[in-house]
C-alpha cells in the first residue's frame, strides 16, 4: 500500500505534477536524514548529504523501476551517498576485519549464540551508549542493524538495498548482534 502511494507520487511527478516532488521530500527527508546521521557517525554533514540524496533522487527518478519498492530504492541511493562521503573522508573502515579472501576474521572467532535484546539492553545505560556501541560495529554490520530496526525493513528489502544475498544479510544481522554484545561486554572493563 505504501509503495503504491509512492509509485503514484512518482507517476504524478513524471506526468508534470511538480508538487509531487515536494510530497516525496516531505515523506522521506526525516528518515533519510536520521539514516545518514547514524550511518556516518553523527557527522554535521548529514544535512548536506540529505540534500544531495534528494538531488540524486530527482536526477534519477525516471530510471526508477516501479516493480521494486520505492523506499528500498531511495535508501540504496542514500547508502551509496553515505559510502561515497565516508570514502572521501578516508575514515570508512569497510574491511578492517577481512582478509584478501573476503573472510571476516572477527566473525570466524565469534560464538554463534544469538543474544536476546534484554541481554544486550541490560548492559546499556542509555540510547547514547547504544549509539556509541553501534558506531563501533563495522559498517557492513551497522547498516544491517540500522535498516532492520530503525527503518523496519525486512531481510528481503535490506538485501535489495545492500545488494547482498538475503542469507548473507541474515547471517550478518546475527553476527552484528553477537558482536554488539561482545563489544558491550568488553567495554565494561574500561
Amino acid at each position: 500500500m505504501e509503495n503504491e502511494n509512492d509509485i503514484k507520487l512518482v507517476s504524478n511527478y513524471l506526468n508534470g505534477e511538480e508538487d509531487a516532488l515536494k510530497e516525496i521530500v516531505q515523506k522521506y527527508y526525516k528518515t533519510i536524514y536520521r539514516f545518514l546521521f547514524n550511518y556516518i557517525g553523527g557527522s554535521p554533514e548529514s544535512a548536506d548529504l540529505t540534500q544531495e540524496v534528494f538531488l540524486k533522487i530527482w536526477k534519477k527518478i525516471k530510471k526508477y523501476d516501479k516493480r521494486h519498492s520505492f523506499k528500498t530504492w531511495i535508501f540504496t541511493i542514500a547508502r551509496n551517498t553515505a559510502i561515497d562521503f565516508l570514502r572521501k573522508k578516508r575514515n570508512s573502515v569497510f574491511s578492517d576485519f577481512e582478509n584478501v579472501d573476503g573472510t571476516n576474521m572477527l566473525e570466524e572467532n565469534l560464538s554463534d549464540d544469538l543474544p536476546s535484546a534484554s541481554e544486550v539492553f541490560s548492559k546499556i545505560e542509555n540510547a547514547k551508549k547504544l549509539k556509541e556501541e553501534l558506531d563501533r560495529l563495522p559498517v557492513i554490520y551497522k547498516e544491517v542493524i540500522m535498516l532492520k530496526y530503525q527503518e523496519e525493513m525486512d531481510f528481503g528489502e535490506i538485501s535489495t538495498v545492500l545488494k547482498r544475498p538475503e542469507e548473507t544479510v541474515k547471517s550478518q544481522h546475527r553476527r552484528a548482534l553477537i558482536m554488539l554484545r561482545k563489544n558491550i561486554d568488553s567495554s565494561k572493563f574500561f
Binding site: 536520521r34 538531488l55 536476546s116 539492553f121 547504544l130 553501534l134 548482534l177
Partner: protein, 137 residues
C-alpha cells in the same frame, strides 16, 4: 525477539532533524530544476530555430524535385486519362513511385519532426522554469 530489538534500537530514532532542512532540500531542488530548465530551453530553442530555418529551403527543394521528376505529369494522368490509368494501374503506380523524390521528402519530414519535438520540449522546459515548487515562508 525482533520486537524486543526494535524497542531496543528505537531510542536511536530520536535524532532531531535540523530546522529548515525541508526548505533547504526543496530550495536546492528548485535551483537544480531551473538550471536544467534554462539549459533545456536554450538547446531546444536553438534546435527549433535551426530546423525552422532549414524547412524553407528543404521544402523549396522538394517542390522543385517533384516538378523536375515528372511526378506531377504522371499524377495529372488520373484526371485526363483515367481509363488508361485504371487499365495499367500497376505500371502507373510504379512510375509514380520511381519519379517521387523520396530522399528530399524524407529530409523535409525529419526537419518537421525535429521542429515539432524541439517545440514540445522547449514548451515543457518553459513550464518547468515558470513553476515554483519552493515557496519561502
Amino acid at each position: 525477539m525482533s520486537k524486543e530489538f526494535k524497542h531496543l534500537f528505537s531510542g536511536l530514532e530520536k535524532q532531531e532533524v535540523p530546522l529548515g532542512l525541508y526548505d533547504d532540500i526543496v530550495f536546492k531542488l528548485e535551483k537544480a530544476r531551473i538550471k536544467k530548465g534554462r539549459t533545456g530551453l536554450l538547446i531546444q530553442s536553438i534546435l527549433s530555430i535551426t530546423s525552422l530555418v532549414a524547412i524553407f529551403p528543404v521544402f523549396m527543394n522538394v517542390v522543385e524535385r517533384f516538378s523536375q521528376s515528372g511526378f506531377f505529369q504522371y499524377l495529372s494522368l488520373i484526371f485526363t486519362d483515367g481509363e488508361i490509368v485504371l487499365s495499367n494501374w500497376k505500371i502507373f503506380v510504379s512510375s509514380l513511385l520511381e519519379s517521387a523524390p523520396f530522399y528530399e521528402v524524407t529530409i523535409l519530414l525529419v526537419a518537421i519532426f525535429v521542429l515539432l519535438e524541439s517545440l514540445k520540449f522547449a514548451f515543457r522546459n518553459f513550464k518547468m522554469i515558470q513553476y515554483r515548487i519552493y515557496q519561502p515562508n
